[in-house]
C-alpha cells in the first residue's frame, strides 16, 4: 500500500503547478494511470480523499484516465491492446510482442481551473 505517498506526490505536483498558474481555483486534477504502474485506482482515489484535506486543493477532485497497454505483435506487425496484463501477448495470434507500449503511466496531465 503505497497509494498514500503517490497521492501526496500528485498533490505536490498539482499544488506547484497551480501556484505557478496564479490565482484561480483547481476544480480537478487529471491523471493518466497505466495498469503496469503498480498503483491501484480505487486505493489511490481513497488515499487522495485523505491526502487533500488541509491543502490548497482540498476541494479538487481527482479524475483518473486509465490507459491501455498496447503490444506490437512480432508476427502480425500490428499494434493491439492486450486483453489483460496477465496476457502480454498478441490477443489475435498469441505471438510474443516485439514491443510493449505504454502501461507505466503515472502522470498529472492537466488541471481543471476556474476561472
Amino acid at each position: 500500500m503505497h497509494e498514500l505517498s503517490i497521492a501526496l506526490g500528485i498533490l505536490d505536483v498539482a499544488i506547484e503547478e497551480a501556484e505557478r498558474l496564479g490565482p484561480a481555483s483547481v476544480l480537478a486534477v487529471h491523471l493518466r494511470l497505466g495498469p503496469l504502474s503498480g498503483v491501484v485506482k480505487e486505493s489511490l482515489l481513497a488515499a487522495y480523499e485523505l491526502a487533500r484535506e488541509g491543502t490548497p486543493l482540498e476541494k479538487a477532485a481527482l479524475v483518473i484516465e486509465e490507459v491501455p497497454v498496447q503490444v506490437l505483435c512480432s508476427a502480425c506487425g500490428v499494434e493491439r491492446a492486450v486483453l489483460s496484463i496477465q496476457q502480454l501477448y498478441c490477443p489475435e495470434c498469441g505471438s510474443p510482442p516485439a514491443r510493449i507500449d505504454g502501461g507505466r503511466e503515472l502522470e498529472v496531465v492537466a488541471l481543471e481551473m476556474e476561472p
Binding site: E17, L27, H30, L36, G38, P96, P97, E107
Partner: protein, 225 residues
C-alpha cells in the same frame, strides 16, 4: 449557467523526484564502473539466503557490497555481514518499499569506484517496489517453489518491471509439487522473453548459471559505456 472552466495541460510525472534521484544514481554507478543488482520478492522467498550465497561466491573474484532494506531490525545485515563484504541496513520504518533517495543516503561515505558489484535487497513486497526506480542495472524478482506457480499472474506489475526471474528453493520442488512448466508459462505471459533461472541456495544448484549471467551482463554494460 456554470462559470467557465479551463483545462490547463501539465504533463508531470508523479514520481519525477524519485526518477530524478534514480537517474543521478545510475549515472554515478556507471561512472564508477559498479554494476548494480536489486532484488525484489515477497517476504520469505529467500532473498537474503540467496544473497548470502552469491556474496560469498563473488567475494574472491570481485569487490562486492550490499544494501538491505527492511521495515525494522538489522537481522538481515547481520546475516550478510558474515560473508565479510561491506553491508548496510536501510530501515524504512513503516514504508513498504525502498526509494531512490534512501539508497543515495545509505551510500554516503562509500567509495563506489572501489566496487565491482552492488546488491540492493528491497523490502519483501511484491506490490509497491514496482513503482520505484532505484538506479539499478538489473532487477531480479525471486519467487520460491512453495509460493505457487501463479505468483506471476497475481503480481504482474512487479514481474513486468523486473529483468530476470529466479525461482528459489528448488530443493523443495518435489515436496511442494511444483509445476515447473506452469511457472515458466506464467512468467512468460506477464513478461515475454524474461530469462528464468532455477536455483537452490541450500544445495547450490543453479547458482553457477546466475554468476555467468552476472558476468555477461556486467561486461556488456562496460563495453557499452
Amino acid at each position: 449557467m456554470n462559470p467557465p472552466t479551463r483545462l490547463v495541460e501539465v504533463r508531470q510525472k508523479v514520481l519525477k523526484q524519485n526518477d530524478l534521484v534514480a537517474r543521478t544514481l545510475r549515472e554515478r554507478f556507471h561512472a564508477a564502473g559498479v554494476y548494480v543488482v536489486s532484488l525484489v520478492s515477497s517476504p520469505g522467498a529467500g532473498k537474503t539466503r540467496f544473497l548470502e550465497l552469491v556474496l560469498s561466491l563473488l567475494r574472491d573474484r570481485y569487490r562486492t557490497a550490499a544494501l538491505v532494506g527492511d521495515l525494522a531490525t538489522d537481522n538481515d545485515a547481520e546475516r550478510l555481514a558474515r560473508t565479510q563484504v561491506p553491508v548496510k541496513q536501510i530501515t524504512t520504518g513503516t514504508v513498504c518499499h525502498l526509494e531512490a533517495d534512501a539508497v543515495a543516503k545509505a551510500l554516503e561515505g562509500w567509495r563506489l569506484e572501489e566496487l565491482d558489484f552492488l546488491f540492493i535487497e528491497n523490502v519483501g513486497n511484491l506490490v509497491c517496489p514496482s513503482s520505484y526506480d532505484l538506479g539499478e542495472d538489473m532487477r531480479l524478482v525471486l519467487f520460491s517453489v512453495t509460493e505457487g506457480e501463479d505468483k506471476p499472474l497475481k503480481y504482474p506489475t512487479i514481474f513486468n518491471t523486473a529483468d530476470v526471474a529466479i525461482i528459489t528453493k528448488m530443493d523443495l520442488a518435489k515436496a511442494a509439487e511444483f509445476d515447473r512448466e506452469a511457472a515458466w508459462r506464467n512468467i512468460q505471459a506477464v513478461r515475454p522473453g524474461m530469462p528464468v533461472l532455477e536455483l537452490s541456495a541450500k544445495t547450490g544448484e543453479g547458482v553457477e548459471a546466475f554468476l555467468q549471467l552476472l558476468d555477461s551482463r556486467r561486461s556488456a554494460t562496460r563495453r557499452g559505456s
